[in-house]
Symmetry: C2
Subunit: 193 residues, 2 copies
């Protein structure tokens, strides 16, 4: 543990497959992507995150996610590639955001804050630096939601304790993959400086 | 263009499928991954990168990469999803690192520096902050190599002008995907602060 980095164990992340928008702003459940699970699990492990939740109300999709987890954790994959096993240990597959909150509420000591992420500029967003300071202060716990598809529904932004500012770069282009955005955000919040 | 960000157009990136190590430290050519192409192209577009090279000596694999590019650029995909078209415009598919260097040498104004990346700590590595300053100084151009498989071969580290320090976090776990590592590295070098 490096003293310059905030404590990642105060932070959990959730990859949301529902409720999110599709390209026509309809609320849908997106399909699980194998690489998302591996990439986000590795990120979570790298930054010392508490739990990584995969959220989908579609039972077949949860079975699929559990199968991926089990393959790398218990099966042949775990001995072939222990790095993947170690990462996927953090994965919890749940049907909805309420289940995530209930799971985290059960074990928390400090107030739990819901943080939503997205590509769009919004008023009252918190900067990465400010959220980093709040994590470092050690008085709150945090759940970061990452949306698949065309992003988290507005109701989640209304409900959030913090809306995280989008990842900005030099130009106007703002279409990172959820994997890429999550990597940058977790590094900004928890990486060594 | 934000004055706080270094100029990404001085930087190109190359995703290397050969020569890289496999898990047993044999030198191999890895297979192209569809999502790598999309994720790195989006990152390159986001950070204003000059060119994104995909390097493989295997002709069938280059044909595959070109087909992905063409689908999103010229075909049905380009009108369905203009964001992907815009990103994949930066993609150049080449057989080897020499071809990348020749392509960049042809158009360069300032000295071109070869920068290699990897997960292992090495002596004489340059920090992300120092490389960011060098980019910002505006006197050199840079080619960053990202390895697939189990990483770039040692010969490339011997040949590099700069060896970039690995992405560090709180713990010892150091097994990010190449997509995740590239996202974090480009943000550290070129992102808004």
């Amino acid at each position: 543990m490096n003293s310059l980095s905030p404590d990642g164990s105060r932070v959990s992340i959730a990859l949301i497959h529902h409720p999110v928008y599709d390209r026509n702003r309809r609320v849908v459940a997106t399909a699980i992507t194998n690489l998302d699970l591996h990439d986000l699990a590795r990120l979570a492990r790298t930054f010392g995150i508490f739990h990584f939740y995969v959220v989908t109300p579609v039972e077949e999709q949860r079975v699929l996610a559990e199968r991926i987890r089990a393959h790398w954790q218990d099966g042949w994959g775990g001995s072939y590639n222990p790095d993947r096993r170690e990462a996927l240990e953090l994965l919890r597959v749940v049907p909805g955001i309420e289940a995530v909150l209930a799971d985290l509420e059960a074990g928390r000591k400090d107030p739990l804050r819901l943080v939503v992420t997205g590509a769009k500029e919004r008023p009252d967003a918190i900067s990465h630096a400010s959220l980093r300071s709040r994590i470092q202060a050690g008085e709150e716990e945090f759940l970061l939601l990452f949306g698949t598809g065309w992003g988290l529904v507005d109701e989640l932004f209304d409900r959030a304790d913090y809306i995280l500012e989008p990842v900005k770069a030099a130009g106007e282009y703002n279409h990172l993959s959820v994997r890429g955005a999550a990597a940058i955000i977790l590094d900004r919040l928890l990486g060594q400086r």
